[in-house]
Subunit: 231 residues, 2 copies
């Protein structure tokens, strides 16, 4: 192989690449959504946002498209864009795919580079620290980073992107039902156990644990959903 460092430079280029204003606007909105300041179901009127961010309608619509593709927004023709409301069906599908990708991550753990495993442990530690300090929102963030690191063990850029979008949607689900504390707390210990099983190399047990973890979380969220739907 010739000039490996050239490839590394080429790979780092898009990071330094200046982004279009639409992308930056999309970033702003994404932040508002994942932080929960824009609640699911909320409508985003073009003109109001244009005035707020001081961009033209075209670029705003461009930003909308991006976020719609990420499934954070839904675009209803001739009606406008809304923050996505994840239905119970979509939630089930979300977990179906999470099971596939994250379990594959567990199976790939032996072949994964050490940094990838280190990120996994870092996420566990971050979660534990945040819980100790009572920062429950950060516990949620660490949990998401944990599962992201899990899927990243596959070592596939595509899988990375999929799981990133998936977990961004999970944030929508969390915001739609509030109460970060009760929900995230019990999963802290399970993240830790899962990580330890993998570190020990017991992949079969790790996969079982992960499956049961996801089953429980899905059941809990689905139950909460059904109750919410009564409103």
């Amino acid at each position: 192989m010739r000039e490996r460092w050239l490839d590394e430079l080429a790979a780092a280029r898009p990071g330094l690449d200046r982004s279009s204003t639409a992308a930056r606007v999309a970033g702003l909105l994404r932040e508002q959504i994942t932080d929960g300041r824009l609640v699911p179901g909320a409508r985003l009127p073009e003109e109001d946002l244009c005035r707020a961010v001081k961009v033209s309608r075209n670029t705003m619509r461009e930003a909308f498209r991006m976020l719609a593709q990420e499934r954070l927004l839904v675009h209803e023709f001739n009606r406008g864009v809304f923050v996505r409301r994840v239905t119970a069906d979509a939630l089930a599908d979300l977990y179906r795919v999470r099971r596939i990708l994250e379990c594959e991550g567990v199976r790939c753990a032996p072949d994964a580079p050490p940094e990838a495993l280190a990120r996994l442990e870092a996420a566990v530690l971050d979660g534990e620290r945040a819980a100790g300090a009572g920062r429950w929102a950060d516990v949620g963030t660490a949990d998401i980073r944990f599962h992201q690191a899990l899927a990243a063990l596959v070592g596939s850029p595509r899988v990375d992107e999929m799981i990133r979008h998936l977990l961004a949607e999970m944030r929508l689900v969390f915001h739609e039902m509030g109460s970060p504390r009760e929900f995230h707390e019990p999963y802290l210990a399970r993240n830790r156990r899962l990580h330890d099983l993998m570190a020990r190399g017991d992949l079969a047990a790790a996969e079982r644990e992960l499956r049961s973890y996801l089953d429980d979380a899905e059941a809990q969220l689905t139950k909460a959903y059904r109750e919410n739907e009564r409103l």
Copy 2:
């Protein structure tokens, strides 16, 4: 349950929903790309296309964005949009994800509805018919439909969408190296064998066959790629 037929109507709605012109334009371009009339690497100048399709630049750019999100086009800032060239690395990643999704499809076969399995067999038959008639392009189409049906066994809308995009990219790969005949012919029999193994219920053997199938196809394409790269 009350008013079941209402839900069915609601489910059928998006089909009748008229689409934006941007979406239709994107459809046109998508067809040109997957049919190979637009070769990978080709540049798509905004104004030329606007004049050809008689839409404004804004809507054309909107169409571009959709296809860029599907990875059929790449959008280089201040340089324009191009038909995607799949690199060797991207090809490897493509197969990595195909292995994950399609193998999962095999494992889900027992729980899949009969229609889904029927579509699988239909794709096999279509391929065999097309091969008998010497329509090699159609053989390729049937092959893609076969693998799409395979992943569809998972029964997940998300997986369906992923595999659809993945296989659309595979078309790009095929077009970049031409010669549909030699490439698709040997896989006809393997599709048939794979289907029969699954119909017989021997999932373990089916998964082994699928993995070897994908390994061989990837190796063959990668080899062709390395040779092409010398140009």
